[in-house]
Amino acid sequence: MSQQPFRAVGRPIPRIDGLEKVTGRARYVTDLVIPGMAHAKVLRSPYAHSRVRKVDVTRARAHPGVLAALCGADLTWCEPYYGPAYRDRPVLAIDVARYEGEPVAAVAAVDEATADEALDLIEVDYDPLPPVMTLEEALSPGAPRVHTGKPQAGHFADLASLRPVPGTNVCHQFHFARGDSGRALASADLVLDETYRFPPVQHVALEAHAAVAVWSETDGLTVWASTQNPYSVRVELAKMFGVPLARIRVVVPHLGGGFGSKTYAKLEPLAAALARVAGRPVRLAASVAEAFQTVRRCCARVHVRVGFRRDGGLVAVECGADYDVGAYADIGPRVVQKATYTATGPYRVPDVTLDARAVYTNTTPGGAFRGFGVPQLAWALESLFDVAAERLGRDPVELRRQNFLAHGEEFAPGDTPIDGKLEESLGRAAETIGWTQTGAADRGRGVAAMLKASVAPSVSEAIVRLHTDGSVTVLASAVEMGQGTRTVLAQIAAEVLSVPMARVIVVQPDTAVTPYDQTTSSSRSTAMTGRAVQVAAEDVREQLLHVTAAELGVAVTDLALDDGSVVTPGRRLTYAEVLMLRFGMSGGEIIGRGVVAPGRTAAPLGGSTPFWEVAVGAAEVSVDEETGALRVERYVSVADVGRAINPLLLEGQDEGGVVQGLGHTLFEEMLYQDGHLLNGTLLAYRVPRADDAPPALECRFVENADGSGPFGAKGAGEGSLIPVSPAVANALARLTGVRLRDLPLTPERVWRALRARGRR
């Protein structure tokens, strides 16, 4: 590798799609207009749980302007069930509607108003059933069952790794043990045994889910979708409609935020079914209120027992986590399993017993949300670390430092060694917040750390094309949803091929054009897709060097790329000249290919994460003891990213992660009463505003170029969110002596706890 300073990598380059976005010219799915396009609306169940005796769409179908009207019983011509873990979710309810807001019937019409009118003409005969709305209800003996049928494998197609508990609402259980935690706890000097709760929350991407679908005899099915993983959507659609993968094209325009809500198929199956029946392109755009009826974060109850020696050494962790995955499993079982496997966080723990259950309830399906199950567990463990520190008379920073896994130490036998320096992140965070300095009497400070695995095994492929004028096309399927991946991929290609950023184009994902990428989630795009782009660009570079070496009669090792030319001492050939030599005319192109596919391993989950995401957060809070209002005055996040390919975009992503984390920390919670969601709109569901963000917010990075991604990068983007809740609660505890174990930390909860503590 060149020792010269980088030309693109590591620079705070403004995003390449910024101009389109500030001028309003960027087109999102809902902005697309396809000739002949019909508009769809969905009729949703008003009950948490009910038998659907009959759905009559006859009058809707006859309504002038209606092009298609469908209910579950109509879907005999396709496989009506989908889902990545289990194929348990019907496109439209079949016999049973399992949550309030479940799609029961749908209409496509010439315009939205006509579709809405037609919905009023649909008659549904519901027979309400007793629902289970909470983990406690769903797990109680003899509880009503959300699903009674035999589970079908989803597109991961490995039901063998999914372990439902027959006859219950538990759709998956996970168990992992190392050593003998019972014996270790029995001999520990301090054992803490506590239960923490994390609320159901919604992603609130400002762009709700949307899809436009069209069928054609020649091309098959094309769907423009607001999705984070077009290739997963393609698999679902292929199975449902019995169409070869090559005849399904999923195109992803600009995405108005994702945060996990747009992973796996959501509205695409229904849009495609309607388009098939209507014989027209169909646009289905959810409202924000409907997004609340589509997916949410899995809420959780986490019971943890930790044992420490008197000297502060962590000897054992036992964790029993129950996650509420709602009415359909979505990716919930994997959220539960993957997160629980890392429930011990970034710490060395000899003896471990981890158990988790994914539990069906009659609520909005729970799926992926930034952090993928880890925030729920870190909330418990990182709070307990501070409780332990207090009981042991130790400084919370020092107690963590003592127990951190070391750089290079295996997380678990056979699994990826730790590739970050936790003590460095913690040290930076503590120093920046002024941990050892005396703060104002009305302020409290707290810290928390996190560790998260990325998805494994996983695959990213990329193609890089060098044109005769030296410009470059990057084909890759990482979805730009705001995080800046298109800019980062362009920087990587520009770096390897030594061309200006302005000469690199990154094509938006299109499964007919851009190669396979597993998913844009799990903080993996820079490390995995970026690495594939780097390999593909290096392939182009090697071809350029070989053509030039043969022509000039020099060794490849004597050549280098420099600013759009292949150079050797005394000679300089532009890429145009090299391509002319290669093809003997002004035409042709050099195509490079990059594949990153770590594959299966012997690690406990069958794959080893390509990198560990580690981060530390430090919060400074104040509280109004009269009202219980908690305010985060200052927040510092330090993430170990290996290398920041684009520090400006990375900083923005982590700042957003912190403030999103403040949402579920301070006020966000989907509230249910009598089977109904009370606050499923932005009028009633409060997300952080500008004046909720900490007045001082600093996101910093540890860069030791020790990641497996391009130029030593690791993944980032989730790490900043995860420590927020425990860091804030720890700060509150250090300020007031009050320890809260249920999120969010609403003024009422804080006020009641302060009252219970009594005046000081």
């Binding site: 976005k21 087109r27 609130v204 400002l206 762009e207 409202s287 949803m481 932005l682 500008a690």
Partner: protein, 160 residues
């Protein structure tokens, strides 16, 4: 009801161009801008005047086009994000948003820019507190707001 549905003719000046339109009395300004005039910069999101993604300026005042009747705009000047730049020259706010990294997914960006423009027309040198207060009707789920506030403050400083 049928009578209420007969279209009305309204006269608007949108981004400096006069136009006469036939609109239904219940047509929302957002739909008219997006579907009739093909100005897709204003985004539909919350439908409840909370998020600000659909913000446009009516005679310089920031309004939520998702809850504003098109007929209410009759005789008024409408500014959308498409009219913010002067030809190819970006408005200072657009430039500042780009430079500060205040744009991520972009879905809130149009509304943020127009809200900020309305504020700066009212108060050329707002304090940070005033900016935060003004943005209470503009949600962003990506950025954590710091860079948006920084971008607006940078333009305000220049105007000082």
């Amino acid at each position: 009801m049928d009578g209420a549905r007969s279209p009305e003719t309204i006269h608007l000046v949108v981004n400096g161009r006069a136009c006469d339109l036939e609109v239904a009395p219940h047509a929302l300004l957002l739909d008219v801008l997006r579907d009739v005039l093909d100005l897709k910069g204003a985004k539909r999101s919350c439908d409840t005047q909370v998020c600000g993604a659909c913000t446009v300026l009516i005679d310089g005042m920031a309004v939520s086009a998702c809850t504003y009747l098109a007929v209410e705009a009759d005789g008024r000047a409408v500014l959308t994000v498409e009219g913010l730049a002067e030809g190819e020259t970006l408005h200072p706010l657009q430039r500042a948003f780009l430079d500060a990294g205040a744009v991520q997914c972009g879905f809130c960006t149009s509304g943020m820019l127009l809200t900020a423009r309305a504020m700066l027309a009212e108060t050329t040198a707002p304090s940070r507190q005033e900016v935060l207060h003004y943005l209470r009707g503009s949600l962003c789920r990506c950025t954590g707001y710091r860079k948006i506030v920084e971008a607006i403050m940078a333009v305000a400083e220049t105007a000082r």
